[in-house]
C-alpha cells in the first residue's frame, strides 16, 4: 500500500511539524485545525502554523519550498478533502472525547484502507478506541512522534488487537524509508517506551538535586556528557520541553500506572517547580525556566532552594572517564549521579517485558527519542553489570530479574552482535533488508587497510568502504595516504568504492592543527606539499577506473565537502550540512574545491549564458561560506548533482550507496577532464565590486576582502583571456598560489587558531 497523500489534524507545534516532515518526504499534506472564533479567515490557524514553521529554528522544512506541499484548511469546511488521503494523523488536544468524536467523523469520509493514527503521548490506545465500531479499530493505531519530528529519529507505534496487520506494515515501512524514522512497535502501556523511562529519569533528576542540594548546573554537567546524554542534561531539557506540560504528564502517568510501580514514588511535582509554573517561568518558550537569559543576555540559573536567579556558573567537567569511578566517590555530585542513573537503569531493567520484550528496542527508544548516545542497557554494560548488581545488593535494593545473572547484556559471537533475553540466553540482532551498518561489517572482518585516520572495509558484492575515523573525521596526511592505497586496492580487487562512516559527522574538513604547526615553523614547503598531495589524491579519486560513491551524513565541511565534489556520485543522508567554509579560517578551498565547484556551475544548464554567471555563483557560495542545512539544500547549492540520491533513514545510507555504486559499475568510464573558459580579470573586478559593497554595508571586514580577492582571482581564472580556456591543472595551480599566499598572513593564522580553540570562526 502506498502513502501518496496525508492529512494532519491539529496545527499545534507537533501537528504542523509532522506535516512538515511529510512534505520533506515529498508527500503532500493537508493541515487542518478548528475555525477560530471572530475571524473572517476560517483557515487562519493552519495558515499561521505554516508561516511559523518557515521561521522556526532548527528548520522543520528541509527546503522552504516544501511548505507548498502543505495545504491549510479547517475541520468544518474541509473534512471532505480526506476522501483521497491514505493516512490521517490526529494531533489534537489530549482529551479522549474530542479525539473520539473526530475519529467518528473521519471514518465517514476516509476510504477503508486509510490509516488513522493518533499522536497522543499519554493516552492508551484501548481508551481511544473504546466504544468505537470495529471498522475504525481496524484502521486505527498510535504513531507517537518526538519533538522536533524532523530531527528526532524515534517513532513509537502502538497497534491494538484489531488493527489490520497490513496497515501496520505500511506505516512501519513508510516511517522507516520515507520519513527516516526508527519505527519501533510498543505495547499499549503508559508513556510507551521512551517517555516511560525518560520522564522517570527527569523526575529523579529534579528530586535528587533538591534532596542533595545540587545546583542545576552541577546536575546538568553530571547527567549529560559523562553518560553520552545531551548537554541539556536534566534541567536544560525540562526548559526545552516546557515545565507547564509536566504536571499533566505526571498526573496521567501516576493515574495509569499500578500502585506498585516505582514511578509512584517519584511522580510528584516539587513545590519549587509548582511555584515556577505559577509564576510563568515555564522554560525557553517563556521568560525563562531553570535557566534564563537576563536583560543583558547573560545566562542565569535558578537557585532550587531559594527560587532566586543568579549568574550561571559552569562547573568543571568531570575528569572521570571511567563511569564506575564517577559514580563511586563520596562527593555529593557522585552520589547524585549514582542515585539518578542507578534508579533509572534499574527501572528500565524492571520494565522488561512489561513495555518491551527485548532490551534492543528500549535502548533504541532512548537513543532516538532522547538523543542518548547509549541506551540504558548499553550504559549498564559500560559500567559493568556485575559491579552494578553488587552495589545494589550492598545498598539492599531489589535487583531486577534481568540483571541477576550479572552477565553482559550485549556480546559479540562469531562476528555477530547479540543481546541477552529474559531467559539469560543470547539472540542475534537482525537488521532489516536494506539496512547495512558499517559497525556490523567491522565486527565480521578485519580491515583491508588501515591507519590512525582511516580504514578500508569489504562491504560485500565487490564494494569496498573507505571509513574516516580521526577526531571529527578531520583529514590529514594519513587520510590521504589511505585514500591513495584504497584506490590501488579497489582497482585490483573490487568493483566500486563507497566513502562512508557511521559517525555523527562525515568530516569536519582538513586537520587544522597540522597547518598551524607548519605556519608557526614558517615551513611553506610543507604547506605546499599538503595542498599538492590533497589535490593529487582527490584528482586520483575522480579519475579512478571505478565508480566512487560518497555517502555523507551530518557535517561535510571544507576538505570533507571537496571529497564529495570529486566523487562519481553522492548518496547523501537527508541531514547533510555541507559547504566550502575555508574563508572562515582565512583560506580558500585548496584541494580542488574551487575547481570542482566552478565546474558544477559551468555545466549547469539553468544558468544564464555568458562567461560571468558561473564565476559569480561559485564566488557567492564560497565567499559567504554557505552551508546547506539539508541534502535538499545541498542540491540547490549544487554540492549535490541532480542525479545524486538522498536517503532519509541514516541506517539505510550505506546500503543505498552500495547499490548506487553497483549500478554505476557497468561499462564505467571515468569522467572526461573539464576545460575552463573563464573571463579573467574582468570577473575579478566585478567580484571585487561586490565584496566592497558588502564591506560598505558592514557585512564584510577588511580581511574578508583580502580573502575574497584571492578567491576572486582563482575563480576568474587569474590573468587568462576568455578565448583561452584553462585546464583543471591550471585552476589547481591558482588554488595553490592563493592558499600559500593566505597562509602567510597573520590574520589567517589568528582565524585558524581561534577555530581550533573555540570551534567558531573569528571575524578579524
Amino acid at each position: 500500500m502506498a502513502i501518496n497523500k496525508v492529512a494532519v489534524i491539529g496545527a499545534g507545534v507537533m501537528g504542523a511539524a509532522i506535516a512538515a516532515q511529510f512534505s520533506n518526504a515529498g508527500v503532500p499534506a493537508y493541515l487542518l485545525d478548528i475555525v477560530p472564533e471572530q475571524t473572517t479567515n476560517r483557515n487562519s490557524i493552519a495558515e499561521a502554523a505554516i508561516q511559523k514553521l518557515l521561521k522556526t529554528e532548527p528548520a522543520p522544512f528541509m527546503h522552504k519550498n516544501n511548505a507548498r506541499l502543505i495545504t491549510p484548511g479547517n475541520v468544518e469546511d474541509h473534512l471532505s478533502w480526506l476522501a483521497d488521503v491514505d493516512w490521517v494523523i490526529e494531533a489534537v488536544i489530549e482529551k479522549p472525547q474530542i479525539k473520539q468524536a473526530l475519529y467518528r467523523k473521519l471514518v465517514a469520509v476516509c476510504h477503508k484502507d486509510c490509516i488513522v493514527s493518533s499522536n497522543t503521548s499519554t493516552l492508551p490506545l484501548k481508551l481511544l478506541i473504546e466504544g468505537l465500531p470495529d471498522s475504525i479499530a481496524g484502521q486505527f493505531m498510535i504513531t507517537h512522534f518526538f519533538n522536533p519530528p524532523r530531527y528526532m529519529r524515534l517513532l513509537e507505534l502502538v497497534a491494538g488487537p484489531k488493527t489490520r496487520p497490513e496497515l501496520i506494515a505500511t506505516v512501519k515501512e513508510f516511517a522507516d524509508i520515507k520519513l527516516g524514522k526508527n519505527c519501533i512497535l510498543c505495547k499499549d502501556t503508559p508513556g510507551f517506551i521512551a517517555n516511560r523511562i525518560g520522564i522517570y529519569w527527569l523526575q529523579c533528576g529534579i528530586l535528587e538535586a533538591i534532596d542533595l542540594g545540587l545546583t542545576v548546573e552541577q546536575a546538568d554537567s553530571l547527567i549529560s556528557t559523562p553518560f553520552g546524554i545531551p548537554k541539556t542534561g536534566i534541567f536544560g531539557l525540562l526548559d526545552l520541553i516546557g515545565l507547564d506540560l509536566i504536571p499533566s504528564i505526571l498526573a496521567s502517568m501516576t493515574q495509569a500506572l499500578s500502585a506498585e510501580d516505582a514511578f509512584q514514588e517519584i511522580g510528584h511535582l516539587p513545590k519549587r517547580v509548582q511555584d515556577m509554573i505559577a509564576a510563568g517561568f515555564t522554560g525557553r518558550k517563556s521568560k525563562g525556566g531553570f535557566y534564563r537569559l537576563n536583560s543583558e543576555h547573560v545566562k542565569e540559573s535558578i537557585n532550587l532552594e531559594t527560587g532566586e536567579y543568579g549568574l550561571s556558573h559552569n562547573p568543571q567537567d568531570s575528569k572521570d572517564a571511567n563511569l564506575q569511578a564517577l559514580l563511586s566517590s563520596s562527593a555529593r555530585e557522585s552520589q547524585y549521579a549514582w542515585r539518578v542513573m542507578s534508579k533509572t537503569l534499574a527501572y528500565a531493567a524492571s520494565l522488561v517485558p512489561e513495555i518491551s520484550d527485548d532490551i534492543v528496542t528500549i535502548d533504541a527508544a532512548m537513543r532516538d527519542g532522547y538523543n542518548w548516545a547509549y541506551g540504558p542497557f548499553e550504559l549498564l554494560d559500560q559500567m559493568g553489570g556485575a559491579w552494578f548488581v553488587d552495589r545494589f545488593q550492598v545498598e539492599q535494593r531489589p535487583v531486577p530479574p534481568l540483571l541477576r545473572e550479572r552477565q553482559a547484556l550485549y556480546h559479540v559471537a562469531s562476528g555477530e552482535l547479540q543481546f541477552v533475553t529474559l531467559t539469560g540466553a543470547y539472540q542475534p540482532i537482525r537488521r532489516k533488508p536494506g539496512v547495512v551498518l558499517l559497525a556490523d561489517i567491522k565486527r565480521q572482518h578485519p580491515a583491508i587497510l588501515n591507519n590512525g585516520s582511516a580504514s578500508l572495509w569489504d562491504c560485500g558484492d565487490g564494494v569496498a568502504c573507505l571509513e574516516f575515523h580521526s577526531k571529527m573525521n578531520a583529514l590529514d596526511m594519513n587520510s590521504m595516504a589511505l585514500i591513495r592505497q584504497s584506490i590501488d586496492k579497489v582497482k585490483s580487487e573490487f568493483a566500486a568504492l563507497v566513502i562512508h562512516n557511521d559517525a555523527e559527522h562525515f568530516s569536519a574538513g582538513a586537520n587544522l592543527g597540522l597547518l598551524i604547526q607548519a605556519i608557526h615553523n614558517q615551513n611553506w614547503m610543507v604547506v605546499e606539499q599538503l595542498i599538492r598531495q590533497g589535490q593529487q589524491t582527490y584528482k586520483a579519486l575522480k579519475y579512478a577506473p571505478f565508480p566512487v560513491v560518497a555517502a555523507p551524513s551530518g557535517l561535510a565541511l571544507g576538505g570533507g565537502c571537496e571529497i564529495l565534489l570529486h566523487s562519481t556520485a553522492i548518496q547523501a543522508h537527508a541531514e547533510l550540512y555541507t559547504g566550502l567554509v575555508e574563508v572562515g579560517v582565512g583560506l580558500i578551498p585548496g584541494w580542488g574545491g574551487c575547481k570542482e565547484y566552478l565546474r558544477r556551475y559551468l555545466t549547469f544548464p539553468k544558468l544564464p549564458k555568458g562567461p560571468m554567471p558561473p564565476v559569480v555563483k561559485a564566488f557567492e557560495t564560497i565567499a559567504l561560506a554557505k552551508v546547506s542545512k539539508s541534502a535538499a539544500e545541498a542540491k540547490e547549492l549544487l554540492f549535490l548533482a541532480a542525479t545524486d540520491g538522498i536517503t532519509m533513514n541514516k541506517n539505510r545510507l550505506l546500503a543505498d550507496a552500495k547499490s548506487k555504486a553497483l549500478s554505476l559499475c557497468t561499462n564505467y568510464n571515468p569522467p572526461q577532464p573539464c576545460v575552463y573558459p573563464l573571463p579573467g580579470k574582468t570577473a575579478e573586478v566585478l567580484l571585487d565590486m561586490g565584496a566592497k559593497s558588502l564591506q560598505a554595508q558592514g557585512k564584510a571586514t577588511a580581511y574578508d576582502l583580502t580573502i575574497a580577492a584571492q578567491l576572486a582571482y582563482v575563480l576568474s581564472g587569474g590573468d587568462c583571456d576568455m578565448t583561452e580556456p584553462l585546464s583543471e591543472d591550471d585552476v589547481l595551480d591558482l588554488e595553490l598560489n592563493a592558499f600559500v599566499t593566505l597562509v602567510q598572513q597573520p590574520n589567517t593564522l589568528a582565524r585558524l587558531e581561534h577555530m581550533l580553540k573555540t570551534g567558531k570562526p573569528l571575524r578579524n
Binding site: 555568458g610 560571468m612 574582468t682 573586478v685 565590486m689 559593497s693 554595508q697
Partner: protein, 374 residues
C-alpha cells in the same frame, strides 16, 4: 521649424520586482501591450508611424536583440514601422522622445512611438554578464560606482539628514496613494493580466516604520530601502508627432516639446545630473526656473531628489503632484516616458503653462525636457 507635440501617454501598472504580479510577464510582451493600448487610446493611424524608439537600460536576454523591432511585430504594428532600441540607462525612454523630436524637426518623420520598458525581475540590474574594463576600474573606479553609494555621497555633500529623506519619501507615498484613491492614474494605466493598479506603494508606512530600517548600502549611511525607489517591473509609451500632423488627424495634443537637454557630471554624484540638464533646457527655452509650473523630477533616491531641489529651488507643491518613483516604482528604461508623458498630461489637467521633466542617470548624467501648454 516644425512644432513637436506629445499626443498620447499610457503605461502599464508598475509592480515590485520578484514578488510582484508582473514578475512572470516577459518585458517584450509587457511593452507590446502598452503600445497597443496607446494606439487604441490615441486613435493614431499605425501606417503613419515612422519608427518605434524604445528605451531600455539593460537590453539583453528577454530585453535583448533589437527589442524595438521585435515589439513592432508583437504589438501588431505594420511591418513598415521601423524599430530602434536605445540606452541611456534611466533616461532611455526620455531620450527616445528627444530623438523623435529631433527627427520631426529635421523632417525625418511625422509620427513616432517613444516607449520604454524594464523587467527588473527578469533582467537584473547590471545584466547577466557585467564585464567591467579592468584598466578603467583601476584608473577611474567611480565609472562603475553603485547607485546607492551615489545617493550616500549626495546625502553627505548636501547634508541631507535621514529624517528629511524619510519625510520626503512619506510625502511621495501619500501623494501617490491619494492619486490612486482618486482614480487619477486610471486613464494612464493599461491593464496587464487583469491588473490595473500600481502595487509598489506602501501607503501604510509611517515615520516610525522608516526609522526601523537598516541602511541599505553603507553601514553608517542614511539611505534605506524606504528612501530609495524600489526595483520595479513596468513599461510606458508616449506618442510623439508634429503638431501639424496632430491637428490634421485631430489627435489630443497634451503638450508641446519646447526644449531638450542632456548633460554629464561626476559619476559618484550622478544624482545631481538634473541640475545641469535643467539649466541647459531653461536656457534653450529662454525661461527661468520660476516660470516652471509643474516639475516631474524622478526620485531615484530621496537624498538625490532633495539634493537636486537644493540647487534647483522649486516649491515642493509643484513637484511630482501624483507622487514619484519612491512610491510608484522605477522600471529604469520606462521611467523617462512615464514622467514626460505625466508632465504633459498634468499641464493639460492642471491648466498650467510650463512643465519640466528631468532625471538623473547612472554613470553621471542628467536629462531634461521642457514642455509647454498647447
Amino acid at each position: 521649424m516644425k512644432n513637436v507635440v506629445i499626443a498620447g501617454y499610457c503605461r502599464s501598472p508598475f509592480a515590485p520586482a520578484y514578488k510582484g504580479l508582473l514578475s512572470k510577464v516577459r518585458p517584450d510582451d509587457l511593452v507590446a501591450q502598452v503600445i497597443k493600448g496607446l494606439i487604441t487610446k490615441t486613435g493614431v493611424n499605425p501606417d503613419d508611424i515612422e519608427d518605434l524608439i524604445l528605451g531600455c537600460a539593460f537590453p539583453e536576454a528577454e530585453q535583448g536583440l533589437n527589442l524595438a523591432r521585435l515589439i513592432v511585430f508583437l504589438a501588431g504594428l505594420p511591418i513598415t514601422v521601423a524599430g530602434t532600441t536605445i540606452n541611456r540607462y534611466c533616461g532611455s525612454s526620455m531620450q527616445a522622445i528627444h530623438v523623435a523630436a529631433g527627427a520631426i524637426q529635421m523632417n525625418a518623420g511625422e509620427v513616432f512611438i517613444c516607449a520604454g520598458v524594464e523587467s527588473m525581475t527578469r533582467i537584473p540590474m547590471g545584466g547577466y554578464n557585467t564585464m567591467p574594463n579592468p584598466a578603467l576600474y583601476e584608473s577611474f573606479p567611480q565609472a562603475y560606482i553603485s547607485m546607492g553609494d551615489t545617493a550616500e555621497n549626495l546625502a553627505q555633500r548636501y547634508k541631507i539628514d535621514r529624517i528629511d529623506q524619510e519625510i520626503f519619501s512619506l510625502s511621495s507615498q501619500q501623494k501617490a496613494y491619494l492619486a490612486q484613491q482618486q482614480g487619477r492614474f486610471d486613464d494612464e494605466i493599461i491593464a496587464i493580466a487583469g491588473m490595473n493598479k500600481d502595487s509598489c506603494l506602501r501607503p501604510d508606512s509611517t515615520v516610525n516604520d522608516l526609522e526601523q530600517l537598516l541602511p541599505a548600502f553603507q553601514k553608517n549611511g542614511t539611505v534605506t530601502a524606504g528612501t530609495s525607489s524600489p526595483l520595479t517591473d513596468g513599461a510606458a509609451a508616449v506618442l510623439v508627432c508634429s503638431e501639424d500632423y496632430a491637428d490634421a488627424h485631430k489627435l489630443n495634443k497634451l503638450a508641446r516639446v519646447k526644449a531638450t537637454a542632456v548633460s554629464g557630471c561626476a559619476p559618484e554624484i550622478m544624482g545631481i545630473g538634473p541640475v545641469a540638464a535643467t539649466h541647459k533646457v531653461l536656457h534653450r527655452a529662454v525661461l527661468k526656473l520660476d516660470d516652471i509650473d509643474i516639475v516631474e523630477l524622478n526620485e531615484a533616491f530621496a537624498a538625490q531628489a532633495l539634493a537636486v531641489l537644493k540647487d534647483l529651488p522649486v516649491p515642493l507643491d509643484k513637484v511630482n503632484l501624483d507622487g514619484g518613483a519612491i512610491a510608484l516604482g522605477h522600471p529604469l528604461g520606462a521611467t523617462g516616458a512615464r514622467i514626460t508623458g505625466k508632465a504633459a498630461s498634468l499641464l493639460q489637467r492642471e491648466g498650467k503653462q510650463y512643465a519640466l521633466a528631468t532625471q538623473c542617470i547612472g554613470g553621471g548624467q542628467g536629462i531634461a525636457t521642457l514642455l509647454e501648454a498647447i
